[in-house]
Subunit: 228 residues, 2 copies
DNA sequence: CTGCATCCGCTTCGATACTG
DNA sequence: CAGTATCGAAGCGGATGCAG
């Protein structure tokens, strides 16, 4: 794994650190919060324990992640991002925004999905331009055995912010993970009945305006690719 | 290579398309312009022909790149980015910005370097906030056998733009590739003698203000990593 | 000469079994 | 729960061959 491209180039350097299989997905999970080994193993759905252990050690050696022992009652530890690891966020976000165009295309029924990836999607697709001053809560239904996952999106002049507070000002959307993902993508109408709605009906209807998920072909002039 | 993570996640999708070895570096070369097979082979410095051929075919099948036959006199063709491939630019740029902190760290003398990566660095590190209204030309010295590579950076209220025009308004910096890279990184003083300077001396001295290369530890609040 | 395809050792990966 | 050990399979780098 200490593979080197041997090139004086930041892309080559980044690929050496994060280019091997599962590495980016480990970061994905840790962007949602600290996780234990077995959490990662389950959420990564298919990684072998040996590879997961090796990746974690590798990333820890490079100080992109760190282990933190949990308070005494728990006999375990969690992995979490270091500042250098968190600094990858802008890149992670743009990769996700690009990859979104391939989400449905090539979708298989057996594809794994974790409910709180909805929050990650909200973080990645939160608009960075001015958005309407709405505050919408999302309650991700997890069935009866687990409590709902909750987060909140707030529009404003500097773009949309996503945090973990409860009690949004305007409305709460509750429903299946994929339905809420559809709301973020603008593909599911919040007042159409696919999600449970409470609070301001009109505000909820504009929930999609807090996000900007641009799918294939939209050719945005939003950023400047090189000219030739 | 048709490896699948089998996860309904844009990061997983992107990794399936671009996660295998050399793929990102192929994109890097094509962001600089169309290239032939042997150009890529040389500039990638270490890729085997079989892997390069397979990657190119794979990326073409997914329509991230395309082949274009050259006008009749040339019996060859070039590879170039498609719109879907060019759409990866914002992600590419952020990866490069993150990877920059590992450029010097771990540098080996044998590291390969292509002179026109300097232009790519200018594209990646062009500031996106307001920059002084300067226009600086860069002439990358290639020795006597090849002509200089030329590009131009222009500051403005919307950030710095980089293009291929000659004849900048304010000053021209000419020198070795790594010295010019140092100017972009703010590590080499243009008026210090490491590069050849013509035009407005004061303007040239502010060349670094057109770029914002933030190295490790600078913990910018510039973008919002997730909260916990 | 360019643009690959083929073959051959080496490395990496995935699945399973096993240990503290 | 948190990994290490093992082994067949797939991916990779390097050399060679070959058609246009």
């Amino acid at each position: 794994m200490p593979f080197r491209y041997a090139q004086f180039c930041p892309i080559a350097r980044a690929s050496e650190l994060l280019g091997s299989r599962w590495s980016l997905l480990i970061l994905r999970e840790l962007f949602l919060g600290p996780q234990r080994f077995s959490d990662l193993r389950r959420r990564l759905a298919g990684v072998s324990t040996s590879v997961l252990a090796e990746r974690l050690r590798y990333l820890e050696d490079r100080s992109l992640i760190a282990t933190r022992p949990l308070p005494p009652p728990a006999a375990s530890a969690v992995y979490e991002l270091t500042p250098d690891g968190r600094a990858f966020w802008p890149a992670f976000r743009e990769i996700a925004r690009w990859g979104a165009r391939y989400m449905v295309q090539g979708l298989e029924d057996s594809d794994h999905f974790e409910p709180d990836w909805v929050r990650l999607a909200a973080l990645c697709f939160a608009a960075s331009h001015e958005t309407p001053a709405l505050q919408i809560g999302f309650r991700i239904a997890q069935g009866s055995r687990h409590p709902d996952l909750v987060f909140r999106a707030t529009g404003g002049p500097a773009g949309t912010r996503v945090d973990l507070e409860e009690h949004p000002n305007d409305a709460i959307l509750r429903g299946e993970p994929v339905a809420l993902l559809g709301v973020i993508a603008g593909a599911v109408d919040p007042v159409g009945g696919a999600v449970e709605l409470s609070g301001d009906r009109a505000a909820a209807g504009r929930a999609a305006s807090l996000f900007d998920l641009e799918l294939a072909g939209s050719e945005s002039p939003d950023s400047s690719p090189p000219v030739h």
